[in-house]
């Protein structure tokens, strides 16, 4: 489909300024670091001369534009420095931990969508009913929930009181071994390799953190679905569809919901922004070994290279997600797809 290809290309071009901006800001944040990186790397015992030597070695004595070019060159090679805590290249650390974060975020989002879409639709089709009131309470109360607090509440109820959930200690309990790495997603890898016990263990660990994230994303998605569905249901073409005798399901899903999804997809951009931030907090609560907890550990130890790597990764991921949202929008809405 050439139309789609050109849409994707156009959107990719459109994302370039965002990526450039992200890289520049990350560079500026790097240079704004407190203290002298050279002195930091040299260690407390170093004298002025060795600090100076390290400064030269790191290229910190060169003018900023030159430093920026060097930074770009490093980035192009996937070079983001070395973590002081793990002793590993930051890029390797982040690659190893990224699947954990992505798996968690996607599961949280899937949970939120699975609840918010039906709930929003039900609320919009029966204004004033108990479902509607419930949707309203959820959308107002939901945005007020501090995500780290909901996580702790869930742990207290489902782990401590009821004993249904495993201890909030990462992706697998101590006795299970990680599945063979294929995608890095434990749920997927364990299924591919047929390690069903591992799948169950990984799923059990994932439920509470994913639920926490899901609850967090539920409010904006429900609110938007309800509002946009209400708008669409009142529109002329729904009346046409009903006058055509189309079944209730066809009218609600094929005609109403597909149109109502357009604003919801737009909201997804903002939801992802919050979700990626909330992810950091949830990872801390559940000791989830993703890039969020990696960044927190590094922050606490004043190990800055991982923090920069984390921010850059998150920002690039967010730009990528927005790109996908744009393309998804184009897939649903022909008016965008066929624009001149």
């Amino acid at each position: 489909m050439p139309v789609l290809v050109s849409l994707v290309l156009r959107r990719l071009l459109g994302a370039l300024p965002s990526i450039a901006a992200v890289v520049v800001v990350t560079f500026v944040l790097t240079r704004a670091l407190p203290g002298d990186p050279a002195a930091y790397f040299a260690g407390p015992a170093a004298d002025a001369q060795s600090v100076e030597e390290i400064r030269r070695k790191l290229g910190l004595d060169k003018p900023l534009p030159v430093q920026f070019l060097a930074y770009l060159g490093d980035l192009a090679q996937g070079e983001m420095g070395t973590s002081l805590i793990t002793g590993q290249p930051v890029s390797a650390d982040i690659l190893a931990r990224l699947p954990a974060s992505v798996e968690l975020t996607l599961c949280g989002l899937a949970l939120a969508l699975a609840v918010s879409l039906p709930l929003g639709v039900a609320a919009a089709t029966r204004p004033g009913s108990w479902v509607d009131h419930m949707a309203r309470v959820i959308s107002t109360a939901g945005v007020s929930l501090p995500v780290f607090f909901t996580g702790l509440l869930l742990v207290y109820i489902f782990y401590y009181l009821l004993g249904w959930a495993p201890a909030p200690m990462g992706r697998l309990d101590l006795f299970a071994s990680a599945p063979t790495t294929i995608t890095g997603f434990y749920l997927v890898d364990s299924l591919i390799t047929g390690q069903f016990a591992t799948f169950r263990a990984a799923a059990a660990q994932l439920v509470l953190p994913a639920l926490t994230l899901g609850l967090f994303a539920l409010a904006p998605l429900t609110r938007m679905t309800r509002a946009s569905m209400l708008g669409v249901l009142g529109s002329d073409f729904i009346r046409t569809a009903r006058a055509g005798g189309l079944s209730r399901g066809t009218v609600l899903v094929t005609y109403a919901l597909r149109n109502a999804l357009l604003p919801v997809v737009t909201t997804l951009g903002m939801v992802f922004s919050f979700l990626l931030g909330a992810n950091v907090l949830v990872e801390k609560v559940f000791a989830w070994p993703g890039i969020g907890s990696y960044a927190i550990e590094a922050l606490v130890a004043s190990d800055y290279a991982p923090v920069q790597g984390f921010i850059l990764t998150m920002a690039i991921m967010y730009v990528g997600l927005n790109l996908m949202i744009d393309i998804l929008y184009g897939l649903i809405d022909p008016r965008v797809r066929i624009e001149a």
Binding site: D236, F237, T240, A243, G244, G245, T250, N259, P334, R335
Partner: protein, 318 residues
């Protein structure tokens, strides 16, 4: 038996500011192959009536009395699945603003095919073929390609042709056309109405033409019903209605319509405006605007029927 019979229909809307008595004691009938015009100012209840017939009224609407019979079946008592079988198949509707009346993100051919799939017992491929055929019947050039187009890629007149193709896809016995030409330019208006008339004649389809345009009704309808504030005040064969309007409102309405040859000075506005349909209403809802009003009118409009199928609801008809 007439194709469509509406008997003493009363319909109310519940709103925050009170109950709106949108229709009261409305009785009308449409025969097979006949074109009945329903005319009146905006707010007179024409569209509410047509939505009630199609069973697509707003959720806040309740029918307090009366019956709507289609081929003898009382639509108000029929189950929802029976109604879904009728809608789009036996009776169909076209709307004003054709551009917003079509799903903006679905190809128009698919929208026609959806209706066919629902009612005609055909496969997806057959439905798609039939949709193209219908587009050709409403004289859309290059129907194969147009079937894949979206409403935003078409003009208003083209969209209305698609609406007609969609409505007539299952060869309904009754077509309700609610202001079908409002918002279209004059030449397109005529073409659209010619098309509807022609297709109706071909298949002996009855048409209920809802319009505020008396001129249009005069040209296209066999009979005309005049509505005012939720009442049917007069029903008559078209020629007779214009030659000898009996209800004072009808007379006023005709005199507000410009006609060729008449001077503009002869145009008279109708005094006052439609009464607020909430709360207590005078039994004759026109009485406050009527120049013939007398105390006896407060007993309510008196429906009089004559042998030629004329009806007038007035104490003091002309």
């Amino acid at each position: 038996m007439m194709l469509l019979e509406i008997d003493n229909l009363s319909l109310n809307f519940r709103t925050r500011s009170g109950v709106v008595k949108a229709l009261e004691d409305v009785s009308l009938s449409v025969g097979r192959g006949e074109t009945l015009g329903v005319v009146g100012e905006s707010g007179s209840g024409k569209s509410v009536l047509s939505f009630a017939v199609m069973g697509i009224s707003d959720a806040a609407a309740t029918v307090s009395q009366g019956a709507i019979r289609f081929e003898g079946l009382d639509l108000l008592k029929a189950g929802p699945s029976d109604l879904d079988e009728l809608r789009g198949a036996e009776m169909a509707m076209i709307f004003q603003n054709p551009r917003t009346a079509l799903n903006p993100i679905r190809p128009v051919g698919r929208q026609i095919a959806d209706v066919l799939l629902r009612h005609a017992g055909v496969t997806r491929a057959q439905a798609q073929d039939k949709a193209v055929e219908m587009l050709a019947r409403v004289r859309i050039p290059d129907p194969e390609r147009r079937a894949k187009a979206y409403p935003f890629e078409m003009s208003g007149g083209m969209c209305q042709r698609v609406m007609i193709a969609l409505a007539l896809a299952c060869s309904p016995k009754l077509l309700i056309a609610d202001e079908p030409t409002t918002g279209l330019d004059v030449t397109t208006q005529a073409a659209i109405m010619d098309l509807v008339g022609e297709l109706a004649r071909e298949s002996r389809m009855a048409t209920l033409l809802i319009t505020h345009d008396l001129g249009l009704a005069a040209e296209r309808c066999d009979r005309i019903a005049v509505m005012h504030a939720g009442h049917v005040v007069e029903v008559a064969p078209t020629a007779e209605l214009f030659a000898r309007p009996r209800h004072p409102y009808t007379a006023r309405l005709i005199s507000t319509t410009p006609r060729p040859g008449a001077s503009l000075a002869a145009l008279e506005p109708i005094p006052g405006s439609l009464p607020d349909l909430r709360g207590e209403l005078a039994p004759c809802r026109y009485s406050a605007r009527c120049h013939l009003y007398q105390a006896e009118c407060d007993a309510g409009p008196l429906p009089r029927q004559d042998d030629n199928g004329r009806m007038v609801a007035c104490r003091r008809p002309a």
